[in-house]
Amino acid sequence: MRKNVVVINKERCKSCSLCIPECSRGIIKISPEINKMGYHPIYIEDMSKCIGCTLCAIICPDSVIEVYREED
């Protein structure tokens, strides 16, 4: 199984939720914690389900999300 890593820049997230319907595995959720700007940033619920498709990173208007796929 692939071990992908998604780096979320929480401080830059404005909680627009565009990535949530975009995620093909439905694993992106809104976190109850609050960032410095006062928004609820996103987080990944179950990282093992991530397939590294990068759709969330592409849709994100603030470049909050970076996807790193495991090297073969």
């Binding site: 071990k3 992908n4 890593v5 780096v7 590294g52 990068t54 990173a57 592409i58 970076e66 996807v67 790193y68 796929r69 495991e70 090297e71």
Partner: protein, 356 residues
Amino acid sequence: MKDKVLMKGNEALAEAAIRGGCRYYFGYPITPQNEVPAYMSKRLPEVGGVFIQAESETASINMVYGACASGARAMTSSSSPGISLMQEGISYIAGSEVPAVIINVMRGGPGLGNISPSQADYLQSVKGGGHGDYNVIIFAPSTVQELADYAYDSFDVAFKYRNPVMILADGVLGQISEGVILPEFKEIKDAPEWALGKGKERNIIRSLFLNPEDRLTTHNIHLQEKYRRIEKEIQYFEEYKCEDAEYLIVAYGTTSRICKSAIDNMRNNGIKIGLFRPISLWPFPYAKLKENAASKETLFVVEMAYNQLEQDVRIGVEGAAPIERLNKLGGSVFNEEEIVDFISNSITLKGNKYVG
């Protein structure tokens, strides 16, 4: 129990130096160490000492050279650009084996730079910015208490080895106010036998060796033997949560304090990480660092400079562990999150490729 007082780093340093026997101060003002001459100018006359504001840094280091050559406990302090001006004098002091104490409260460079804290003088201070084969004993404290303690002890170390001692602090340590327990007044000893005007024979203090009889080679070999002895006897360092650590941060001075809180933070997230902090930067505790680095996955060198401390870390580690660097340039200070983010990302992203 001794009283704990709230003092600014520079002032605690000055008071501790006086208690450690300093009676002569020569200096020229420069931010961020201005409180040292300011405090000295008020305090030294009270204890029967002498304060002189020299016309330049070059003059102050040569005044220290003269005072220390006669066996007096004299010191000077400055910040990065001033220390650059003093390098010639420091080389002379080391060459003629005169004990002296020099304080360097580092600020941003190069050139006039700025007045905020930095660690970019590491190589200049530790590797000897002046000419010739010489070494200066360097202590790098990380709290106001340590700053006071090393200032207090530095005169004894300098007189023991007849070698200049430098205390390498940075703008944060100089300006921060912390609780500090000041040491007791030290009894001032008479000038030693080698000093000018002492002993039965006429003493000569010099760094010029032209006669064939007293070859400079012999003098240099003698100096190197002394340095090897110092390397054996002085090895100061601190280990923080190193016992079960898989990763290791190497940092000194102010940076090491920020790293400590970053380490606590990361340990809460399950990353086993420790800190190795060299206190004596020359002699650098190479052996102890290698011992610590041997079983680690990765070493992170965190410094407010570019590839300076890292050079010594690489010498010490001898390839025993991979090294990654985190630098902050131009007189700005790390914050905890930056260090945590950099290190956790670097650990979790290992073997992964950026795709989008």
